[in-house]
Amino acid sequence: MTVYKVSVVVTKSDHPGAIVNLKEAPEVGKTIELGDNEFVITEVLELMPPRGEFHFLHVTCVPKELHE
């Protein structure tokens, strides 16, 4: 069971960002849901090397309505 532990930073918004576990790897251009809000991913970085089934990533994203 691969788990992607993802640090999320949101730009163009006062959203504080989040840390979430995802079942699928985030990709630039795809969306990510944080509660009721949807965001478009603009950058993905590996934050730390994987350990066991866990991958540690960082994504930057923008609110979907502000994505160009």
Partner: protein, 149 residues
């Protein structure tokens, strides 16, 4: 989903065998919160570890001298709250509030956790190593958040 499957998705328990994970699960008590309920309050004594099973919580830190608090991050399923107190026995470093109804968490007291670690040193080693890795992850997350912010 069965609690064991949920706990396998929690980084804190990565590396434990099924048998070891069962021992940890036997310590868990489930708690339900409504939106805006306080899960943990800054500066209060901390003697419980929270594992988010469903929903989101926000983590807010009050400014010095009673200044306004600032939400620093939201945490979702599989994340943990309260591990700093588990390590240093200090007061809560932030206020944690539920953002959804229901927000479901699993709770382990520090006494129960310490007793388990005394009984089984490998569990203690694995979980404490994972806590260190989680704190490192959050520090890196804060650095990147500060750069963007």
């Amino acid at each position: 989903m069965e609690l064991k499957e949920i706990m396998k998705g929690v980084e804190l328990f990565e590396g434990l065998t099924d048998e070891e994970l069962e021992k940890v699960i036997s310590l868990c008590k489930e708690r339900h919160y409504k939106e805006s309920d306080i899960v943990a309050e800054q500066n209060s004594p901390g003697n419980e570890l929270f594992i988010i099973q469903e929903g989101f919580v926000e983590v807010a830190v009050a400014g010095r001298a009673g200044g306004a608090s600032k939400v620093i991050v939201n945490l979702g399923k599989g994340q943990t709250v309260g591990e700093m107190s588990l390590v240093d026995q200090g007061p809560r470093s932030a206020t944690v509030r539920a953002l959804n109804t229901p927000t479901i968490v699993q709770v382990i007291t520090d006494n129960d956790f310490e007793n388990l670690c005394e009984e089984n040193h490998r569990i203690g080693y694995v979980v404490l190593r994972n806590i260190a890795a989680d704190l490192s992850f959050r520090l890196r997350q804060r650095h990147l958040s500060d750069i963007v912010g």
